[in-house]
Amino acid sequence: MSPAPLREPAVRRRAPAPRRAHQTVAGYVFLSPWLVGLFAITAIPMLLSLYLSFTDYDVLTSISDANWVGWDNYRRMFTADPAYWHSVRVTVTFALVAVPLKLLAALGVALLLNRPFRGVGLFRGLFYLPSLLGGSVALAIVWESMFNRDGAFNSLLAVFGITGQPWVTDPKWALETLMLLAVWQFGAPMVIFLAGLKQVPVELYEAAEVDGAGAGRRFVHITLPMLSPVIFFNLVLETINGFQGFTAAFVISNGEGGPVDSTLMYTLNLYINGFGRLDMGYASALAWVFLIAIGIVTVVLFRTGRFWVHYSDSEGS
């Protein structure tokens, strides 16, 4: 089953007046924890952080002592802080490389698993396991050690007579090891692809076969278009996740984004500014720009999606 569309549940018909009043009270009773959370934990803190992003608030003094600095934090971010642009580059590079590779791996393996054979469930489970262990510190530690000078990766290379190097401490390769970790966790999008593949009507393939279409043509003209909503869903989800990578970057760089800022993901930079340097005003500005950037990326993805996402229940492709 593919993910259900984000649509408001349909209300079927108007209920009689007394019952509706009854339901309104009950509705707000059941909604009250969520409403408290929405205002107290989400909305008001967000507005506060918008205000603080225009101040030099440092968390140690009270909020009323924070000085209004206007657009200074934003100006500093865009014009005077090389680490900022560096973190943007690192994050965008990571997302641009790791997300497509991860989706390719997920789709490829899903195609391999799409035919029934003995033990298919076991394979599916094993491939999903790395995703489940996902953002854990333990896994990041393993990865860090594996790509060290004495790590398993170099041992493997040595078998082929290649002399390795300490990958995680080399600014040229540190980010690549993080990408590899992300690709290795292809299991979650794979499961979603598998579900999508099950939805493709078998008749389409049969008809194409009768028309003499080979496996390649069937894949390009049937599988890909039929799967495009699921590809799109995975793309959006993984892109947003990719921008938020924190744990592995933190662990591999000992919380500093090194070597030479090569793994300074945006969220790690935000953490360093806010909780390392206690520069909460600046960190608030970083968070707001991040929010807007993710919003823009999502909108752009949805806009471009119109051109290649095919919904079988609508006109055209």
Binding site: V11, Q23, T42, I63, V137, I141, M146, Y271, A287
Partner: protein, 276 residues
């Protein structure tokens, strides 16, 4: 021929996927010398002492860290299951003024990245005296009791929509209030969604690092992920074995959940698109 090719490809992928995990298990029982010199997956000399060494490596034993993590994860599960089901029942089933607006806002918060909220929430909790207070877990737990995990609200709404509305209508005709319908119709029939939420809620909280790193500052309050990073600060060759031993132990609860609920986990993510 093609079947053989497929089988070979799958076996190769299994090897790549499992290699890091097997290597982790092997390293956790290697002696300090072997960590450097032995390129094999498995050790020549089995060194189970790494587990005892890792357990007692810091002033506070890992047992304490595990208890802290179990408590945080357990209460998070409780909070999410209860508060998200309340919100889902209201938004997915009851008819009341402004429901459409609240539903749209809920979907909006679903897309809101957690990292954006961490700074303002930290400031809020700090001003309430909860950060570094008598019980430093309040900032981690209170939001979970207020249905702030929109993903679970959404998942349960999708599920509740599948429960036949005729059941509510029949109960209403019999004079049942929305509270009774919740208690006697929705709650018992929502069990699969609640179990899915509970499992994912536990695993994600167990693996979560960012929020625990931000809010926990006293060694005795550390959870397992935060405690694990203590090893990295002082990586010498002698601590690699113990570090791996504790990393491995930290994955055991997740692994047990995985073995027990494998089918549900896999189905859970493809019906709802849950991230892994």
């Amino acid at each position: 021929m093609r079947r053989r090719l497929r089988a070979a490809a799958l076996l190769l992928i299994v090897a790549v996927v499992l290699y890091p995990l097997i290597w982790m298990v092997g390293t956790s029982v290697k002696s300090p010398e072997e960590v450097v010199s032995n390129i094999g997956l498995l050790p020549d000399t089995f060194t189970p002492g790494n587990f005892a060494d890792g357990w007692n490596n810091f002033d506070v034993s890992f047992g304490r860290f595990f208890l802290n993590s179990i408590m945080v994860s357990g209460l998070t599960v409780l909070g999410n299951v209860v508060s998200c089901l309340f919100a889902a029942y209201a938004l997915g089933r009851l008819r009341f003024r402004l429901r459409g607006m609240w539903f749209a806002i809920m979907i909006g918060t679903l897309l809101l990245p957690g990292h954006v909220l961490i700074i303002p929430q930290y400031i809020l909790f700090r001003s309430l005296g909860w950060v570094g207070g008598d019980w430093p877990y309040l900032p981690l737990l209170v939001p979970q009791f207020l249905a702030t995990e929109a993903f679970f609200v959404f998942l349960m709404i999708q599920f509740i929509r599948g429960i036949p509305r005729e059941l509510d209508e029949a109960a209403t005709i019999d004079g049942a209030s929305p509270y009774r319908i919740f208690r006697h119709v929705i709650l018992p029939l929502s069990r699969p969604a609640l179990v899915t939420t509970a499992i994912f809620s536990f695993i994600w909280t167990w693996n979560d690092f960012f929020r625990q790193l931000v809010y926990l500052s006293d060694l005795k309050d550390y959870t397992v992920p935060v405690a694990l990073t203590l090893f990295i600060d002082s990586t010498s060759e002698s601590s690699v074995g113990p570090m791996f031993a504790m990393s491995l132990l930290s994955l055991v609860p997740v692994f047990l959940f995985f073995v027990a609920f494998q089918r549900m986990l896999v189905e859970g993510i493809n019906t709802s698109g849950l991230k892994g």
